[in-house]
Symmetry: D3
Subunit: 242 residues, 6 copies
């Protein structure tokens, strides 16, 4: 088996995490998984949604979008269609759940964090890149909250780092971090969200052609874990710089 | 550990599959997983969506809804809100993908199957009940297509039966087929869609509280497989009657 | 003249009113007028719409829907079309006005009743079946309000029972309770909502072909009154059981 | 009983029908029922809706609107709310059904007539004024179709004139053509659409307070018939001028 | 160069401003620029939009619409399309900005003025007619506010009168107040909003064909100023009558 | 007068035009006017909108958007609000008109160009940056069309280069290319679109506070012309590189 990308089966694409990518947001990251490029911002607003009022906890919500020409064929702009598609809603719900797992909401105070992930160029794996990049933007936004005195330094809402990667079965073999040509031809596509400590936050696997078998699942999850270790390292490196 | 339902950890709720539940649809099933009740219909229309025109294959699409008072608190009717929510779209996309896996679209001819799953009473597991029940409605609709001569008896589009069940971690232990009180308190919720031959079509696992561990995943999948064998048996029994 | 249904001109279809049909709603009824089957629920929420705030009275509002395959041809789901059609809005406004006539809003306290009528199988007369069945669900919901102490037993908001039936001119003769094949071929269609005491709450008559004459109107209303007596009897019988 | 308007119980408001009110439409009428003023236009487009394609007949459809400040309190503009309300849809469906009764669609050829009724000032009875005025605009539009040669003069689609008026029970007595203060205080409101020959096209009666009785219905219909004779006379007079 | 309208290059169409055109609004004007006819109403509501709460100032907002058959070809009703088009939004934003320039919001108190401009017949220049007519309706509405005691007579929010006119390049020459046939054939279209004192509130010029040159802009603006003097005179004359 | 930015009155911000910014679009440019950053893509699709079918000409249409956190405060995502706001529609209509002026549509063949301008960071002047950058993306897309043979090299649809800049009155003096702090405090804001040959395509001037005077307009336009010469130089330089 040879991957279209020429990568080894267990090899991530070149990953880049650029902090402070835009100026206004409390956290702003450009994350690149090869040719997939996503701007992830974390914004802070005081107040919480109605269903949490008076419960002494904060909230995090996520939205996802794609520029119309992020893809090979132009997609109609969702704002002009008048609604977000099912794929968009599915992805932004996944991002929101994943990043909420990183936080202890009771330590966030009466604040809401908005995570916006906007794909400016797509080449497969936009949801996993979004989660991985937005995690870094989230850490930056928490630092701003601390500086503003909205949360105490000694009482950080951050419970654990979270990252995500896709794995799949390609020509019968498990491969890590599929790009678009690989994803289109893969038999199975599995998105995995994990914590630094190695626990699963979310797994979503779909057989595109033939059903996948338990032992394939095990092999794919092992690859995901290997990639995840590298992603956490890359997040840490990005956050280590000033 | 004692389940709120009093069931054994590996015990399904009482399952009932009532065929020909309503009169007009080519396939119409009332599926009950305990107190969860879903009307599943399969409708046939000639023609295919634009993106498949002229490719000599058929299509299957699914929609999901809940009556406003299917739940403990009344939910606003999506038709009057003016849009389907993210949860609805996520579920109907899952139902659609799962049932398409049951078919060989190239043998369906120039036909589209519409699967409608409408929850009239909800008590957890509506998506897995929907898939399991709609599979039976789909088989009935294919029989109608054969009778009408739209597809050949010797050339059935049915590749394999598909069913779905939820499993989860409840008070640290894996349990099968969670009802609503169990689901609300579960640490992890995992929906599994499988084929009769034991392959996975889809797995979607979410940590609601603590991350879940690989060995918990393995245990949950084993439970799912056990439940699945029973569900396929129940589908066969339902289809065996006249 | 022979009715397609074989019924006598003044004969209702077999009517069944099943209480406590689903579990969560304060009142839940499955009403069947022959092959027309509607789930009617009555839900109670505390509070009233803004335009009634502080006026010391309650409110009742109704919504109506049809499962996509309740009919011979599948209808597009209104939730996915993004709006309710004119027919739907017209019917739910009629149901709301009719049931509000049953209540003394000043005795309802600061509560809103939501009536949901969802047609699971349609064979003509869905709006009249909805009103007749929802009336029973409403009585059950009021009993729940009394048990909860939200309204006083001695001070019931229930003023009068309300029911509805359709009549029409079919091949030049007045007939009672038209089913779909009769309705499609009728010259005139008249929906009548009445009180137990014999007063009219609403009449809506439409000439589908030739205009109808005053004496035909008189004849149709007489038939409606006859049917109405039987419907009130059926409501009472349903409510008499525990 | 004294009417707020000072009119006799069987007295219409001053009615004015001004043809050729605006320049572009094939038929354009300003109709005034006292202070209720509606611009009714009839527009012709070639072609028919999809469901009528190839059936050799035409179609008529109606839309209704109100300027935001046609009423005592400003109403939000439906175009900016993003949808037409239930009352609007109910009224425009009534106008459409009523005017379709005036035509033999098989003689209309492959044409669609659009009736637009826009209320510029409202004082009760906007739907009945709309039908009465739009009927005149429709006749003018048919004359244009004849001139253009789109329909044959000897083969007119016009079957019969149609008009509409409201009647009601006010302080226990039947009154004709209610204005807004009367309508707000009326116990019953009944809209009647008739043909010149005295047949009913549509009756819609609603008890606003107490139910109404059969003999009240009879009395109201007699008043409506009296008013209708005057309205047909006014339509004829308007059409008699060049 | 001969204008299709036969007017001199610097000649306005016949302008008519009819006050108190409809009954309910605090200010109501029918403005006619030749065959362009617009109903302009000014409505007063107490309270201000959220973003101005507690800032001790009022607000003015404008909406614009066209009856479907105001034009040569029928346009789809925006209320039934479910959204206002870009042209509509652009025009109503212009009307709002223009009329806000007439007022000192800090003297308006806690009130919002709604300006509604509804075109009943269009023949070019609907936005400039709307501004010119709505200005008069606004003055009338302010008088009502004074009578009601909502604002002090000695403390009028009216800073200056505002009017608007279009100019354009037609067959190489500047012309004033284009009607539809002229506008369709013009090389440049320029809308100008000015104050009585001769200052610009807004200029919007668009080259429809060839770019326009600075000296053409100067010539068009001179024409606009000439027309504006006449429009202010017409506004004053309209307001001078009782 | 000292500009907040410290620039001279007639000084542009640092402008950067980066071609081939993303991979998929036929033309893709990142344009930066200081801290304002816009991704402009030009996409080609064969076919034209319905109103141009069979007329032997092409079309260009533009859409504009802002990432939610492109600004100091997060704006709600238009895709999730379900509609584009008035400001967005106004800007995208301006971009479309401006770039259509650059082309001879009759030489474009049966093709539609989609211009997408997405603001990733806003600091004033997003619409003028969009036009200036999209012009370069458009030239690149035309080159692709030529390479594909869809248009002839000898028969280019490009008539003229177009660029845009804002000018304004700030503290009583005309200034060029306002950034956000300047724009917020300016008395007048004027957007100018011009051709290389010095003609105007569009001018849009708005008095934010006091009306502006003809001599101020003249001064602002002179500044705009000066800036425009530099912008055309920058466009040429960007296009000169390989």
């Amino acid at each position: 088996m040879k991957r279209p990308s020429g990568r080894a089966a267990d090899q991530l694409r070149p990953i880049r995490i650029t902090r402070n990518y835009t100026r206004h947001a409390e956290g702003s990251v450009l994350v690149e998984f090869g040719d997939t490029k996503v701007i992830c911002t974390a914004s802070v607003e005081s107040g919480v949604p109605r269903f949490l009022k008076g419960q002494g906890q904060g909230w995090l919500t996520a939205e996802y979008g794609m520029l119309p020409r992020a893809t090979g064929e132009r997609n109609q702009r969702e704002a002009s269609r008048g609604k977000q598609g099912g794929r968009t809603l599915e992805i932004q719900r996944l991002i929101g759940r994943s990043l909420r797992a990183a936080l202890d909401m009771t330590k966030l105070g009466d604040n809401t964090l908005y995570i916006d992930c906007d794909v400016i160029q797509a080449d497969g794996g936009t949801r996993t890149a979004s989660i991985t990049g937005a995690m870094v933007a989230l850490v930056d936004a928490l630092a701003v909250l601390k500086k503003r005195g909205a949360i105490k330094a000694s009482h950080s809402p951050l419970k654990q780092m979270v990252a995500a990667v896709s794995v799949g079965m390609y020509q019968g073999e498990p491969v890590l971090d599929l790009d678009y040509p690989e994803d289109s031809a893969a038999e199975t596509d599995l998105n995995v969200v994990m914590t630094e400590a190695g626990g699963f936050i979310e797994i979503q696997g779909t057989a595109e052609g033939e059903p996948f078998q338990p032992e394939q699942l095990t092999a794919m999850l092992a690859l995901a874990e290997k990639g995840m270790r590298e992603l956490f390292e890359l997040q840490r490196a990005a956050l280590a710089t000033e």
